[in-house]
């Protein structure tokens, strides 16, 4: 038994809520998450990838379940089966599309004119960006509809097709403006997502403005090169603070006072470790060859014709590329971000915990199949919701 802090919340009647509260608590353990991800990876490989839907579900159940809002754990009600069925539906669309794209591309590459090739590729990217936006929105809708607190569902209203079109239009606008429209794109898409997010019948609202973030964004981009990308962490912290401060749920206001240093403490050790591991990885793969050259004195460099044919490279590659990175990422990034977010989240204002009413609208039936097939993951739990 590990949790004492919330023992008091079981008292049946609530005293009036103080104006500022830290309602979220994260009780996940890095080791448990890492072990779960390890098991998932192995099972996914054994099943040629088909386990991934259940793998995702297990991780989400663990993460959602590890977050308590006002002492009540969140619940993830999605299932692997739903994700799998969604994937099958999507497959029926994507397989013919994939064949058309592949064959068309191949045909044009060998026989077509430059104009034909370029217009084919432009069409492809337009379709891709539209589907990408569509998929992101659908994934978010699925996750929210499968997120439950005190028996009340979260929900994502709004239109995925419209979101996809918006996304496409904003990407094109960003290209035309050489990236200057990116802050506008971020704000516009966030507003659409958050303002369509519900807890029961209660509606979230996001009152963000492009010009509030524009100059900081520009500074971040200009400095990114000179600071080896560290300015991005500074901008991230600012964005989370800003977006949280502009978010409301009825009369409730939010704040997430994270600082640059909080993100630096999470991302910099991770990046350093990944750099060290990459160097080690290259050394382990090239090591035996270098060793051979030293032993034989023969400077001929025999790069293996078929890397999978070399058992040593296969083993190092398997552990280094497939097994380790997801475990490290979940333990050093996901887990710590969840802890950080929970420790920082504040709610301001009177909250009646009993007053949320279920939205009668049926929860989305299908899974986030398209998102899965296009491989766009969603964020975790309530940090998406806010």
């Amino acid at each position: 038994m590990t949790d004492q802090p919330n023992a008091g919340t079981m008292a049946p009647d609530e005293t009036p809520a103080p104006p500022v509260q830290h309602p979220l608590e994260y009780s996940g353990e890095a080791k448990a998450l890492g072990w779960l991800v390890f098991k998932n990876t192995i099972l996914t490989i054994i099943t040629l990838g088909f386990y991934r839907f259940w793998a995702k579900t297990r991780v989400r159940k663990y993460i959602w379940n590890s977050q308590s809002l006002f002492g009540e754990r969140l619940e993830y009600t999605g299932t692997g089966k739903e994700l799998f069925l969604g994937f099958l539906i999507v497959l029926a669309v994507l397989v013919p599309l994939g064949i058309v794209v592949n064959v068309g591309n191949f045909y044009l590459q060998t026989t077509g004119s430059t104009i034909a090739i370029v217009s084919f590729q432009i069409t492809y990217y337009i379709l891709f960006f539209y589907l990408f936006g569509y998929a992101v929105f659908r994934a978010r809708r699925y996750q929210l509809s499968r997120t439950q607190w005190r028996s009340i569902r979260f929900a994502q209203a709004g239109n995925a097709k419209f979101y996809g079109l918006q996304f496409l239009g904003l990407v094109l606008l960003s290209i035309v403006t050489l990236g200057l429209a990116i802050p506008y794109m971020i704000v516009r898409l966030q507003k659409y997502q958050v303002s369509n997010t519900h807890l029961g019948q209660e509606n979230f609202n996001l009152d963000a403005r492009t010009m509030d973030i524009f100059w900081k964004w520009l500074l971040c981009v200009i400095l990114a090169y000179f600071t080896l990308g560290i300015s991005v962490l500074w901008f991230m912290a600012f964005m989370v603070r800003y977006m949280a401060s502009k978010t409301s749920l009825g009369a409730i206001k939010f704040a997430v006072p994270v600082k640059f240093i909080d993100y630096a403490k999470i991302y910099i050790p991770y990046s350093l470790l990944m750099i060290i591991l990459s160097v080690l990885f290259v050394f382990l793969i090239l090591g035996p060859t270098v060793f051979q050259i030293l032993l034989s004195g023969d400077l001929k460099f025999d790069f293996p014709e078929n890397p999978i044919g070399n058992p040593w490279i296969a083993l190092v590659g398997f552990v280094g590329i497939i097994i380790l990175p997801p475990i490290i990422a979940v333990m050093m990034i996901t887990h710590r971000l969840l802890g950080l977010f929970a420790s920082k989240l504040e709610m301001h204002g009177e909250i009646d915990l009993d007053a949320f009413v279920q939205n009668a609208q049926e929860a989305s039936k299908r899974g986030e199949g398209l998102a899965d097939a296009l491989d766009v993951g969603g964020g975790a739990g309530i940090e998406v919701g806010l």
């Binding site: 038994m1 590990t2 949790d3 079981m10 049946p12 990876t41 996914t44 490989i45 040629l48 990838g49 088909f50 991934r52 379940n65 009540e72 754990r73 619940e75 009600t77 299932t79 089966k81 799998f84 069925l85 099958l88 497959l91 994507l94 397989v95 994939g98 064949i99 592949n102 064959v103 191949f106 045909y107 590459q109 060998t110 026989t111 439950q148 607190w149 005190r150 028996s151 009340i152 569902r153 029961g200 078929n306 999978i308 044919g309 058992p311 590659g317 590329i321 497939i322 990175p325 997801p326 915990l353 009993d354 007053a355 949320f356 009413v357 279920q358 929860a363 899965d372 097939a373 491989d375």
Partner: protein
């Protein structure tokens, strides 16, 4: 036994204190402050919306109602419920969900198997003969250029085509002799390339590429003819076109099915295994065709054996354990298979003068005596 717990009705977020009594066939749930809560949950329909946590809390739900929850804290009650419904740890939110899932999975695996089979075995044989000559020639041209670039990058030396006129004429005479022995009527173009690689290959549209390394490797015109007849066998069977179609089909299918992150490597490995399995069959077909072509052209077939024997001796092969990943059957295996069928009967593959011209196509040879 009656214990206290909490009930959420799925309509509002209110938390109701309730008493829970475990009966042989059901749970009776009664509101303490809310007398209108009077529920009887059949044990057979219970599932854990949240399995008992480390902190001892658990949430029960009823199949078919995905919102209402009963929260338990009493370890004795949780144990008693587990005792009364032995299947509760396996139950999901839908009734009979598992059986449906098994059916869906089985159907999927069968259709995936069929899709892969279609992409690997049916489509290439079906589409290759339908491919218009203009496209396969364009494909072949692109492939040959790609190979030349690749070899140049590997040998760190831009690779040139060997175009000496007299050598070219000798090669054309040799080519026509081989082609006349077959009923192949399509285009046939041999490109000799100034690279060290000991190899020759076939590309779509009747394109053959020979590397200077192989011309130097061949001890006599019969060994050269054996490998060229083998490559011509690939052309006759349209192997290059088929393998290109197979490659496109398999890559597309496997990428979609096994999409995502690390599994990409797995897809590549599966695709590679499937493709190489087919390519080994193709090699055997080409070997048989080579034997047939050489015999029809009245060329000594012993070159086939000696060249493969020497390949296996002088070029290190893969260990047996990795046979699956080899695109060609082991050279020793091929030599053994063919050895019963070759014979000394027949003439030389070409006049010595022609062989000399071909050997010197890329400039004077620097062949070391062995």
């Amino acid at each position: 036994m009656a214990t206290q717990g909490w009930y959420f009705d799925g309509q509002t977020s209110a938390r109701h204190a309730v008493t829970i009594s475990l009966l042989p066939d059901r749970l009776d749930i009664h509101g303490i402050d809310t007398p209108d809560i009077k529920l009887a949950w059949p044990l057979k329909q219970l599932w854990w919306a949240q399995s008992p946590n480390a902190d001892g809390k658990a949430r029960l739900a009823l199949q078919g109602d995905n919102a209402a929850r009963l929260e338990l804290e009493d370890p004795a009650l949780i144990a008693a419920i587990r005792g009364s419904c032995p299947d509760i740890d396996k139950a999901g939110k839908d009734k009979g969900g598992r059986r449906k899932l098994v059916i869906i999975l089985a159907t999927t695996f069968v259709s995936v198997g069929l899709a892969i089979f279609a992409a690997a075995a049916i489509l290439p044989n079906l589409l290759a003969p339908m491919m218009p000559a203009s496209i396969s020639q364009a494909m072949g041209k692109a492939a040959v250029e790609q190979v030349i670039d690749l070899v140049g990058a590997l040998e760190k030396n831009p690779v040139k085509r060997c175009t000496a006129k007299s050598g070219h004429a000798a090669m054309t005479r040799f080519r026509d002799r081989l082609a006349a022995a077959t009923d192949y009527s399509g285009p046939l173009k041999i490109t000799v390339v100034n690279a060290k690689m000991i190899n020759a290959l076939a590309a779509p549209g009747g394109r053959l590429v020979v590397f200077k390394g192989f011309i130097e490797f061949a001890n006599n015109p019969e060994e050269f003819a054996a490998v060229m007849a083998h490559e011509l066998g690939h052309v006759i069977h349209r192997h290059p076109t088929k393998s290109m179609i197979r490659h496109i089909g398999l890559t597309g299918t496997l990428d979609l099915l096994l999409a995502g992150g690390g599994q990409g490597l797995l897809g590549t490995a599966t695709g590679l295994m499937l493709r190489t399995a087919y390519s080994r069959d193709a090699e055997r077909e080409a070997d048989d065709a080579a034997l047939h072509i050489l015999k029809s052209a009245n060329i000594k077939t012993t070159g086939l054996i000696s060249v493969f024997r020497r390949f296996s001796k002088e070029l290190p092969g893969l260990p047996d354990s990795l046979k699956l990943f080899s695109t060609h059957p082991l050279s020793t295996e091929r030599a053994a298979r063919l050895s019963k069928q070759v014979s000394e009967s027949g003439t030389a593959a070409m006049p010595p003068a022609d062989w000399k011209l071909i050997q010197e196509m890329c400039g004077p040879t620097k062949k070391e005596p062995k």
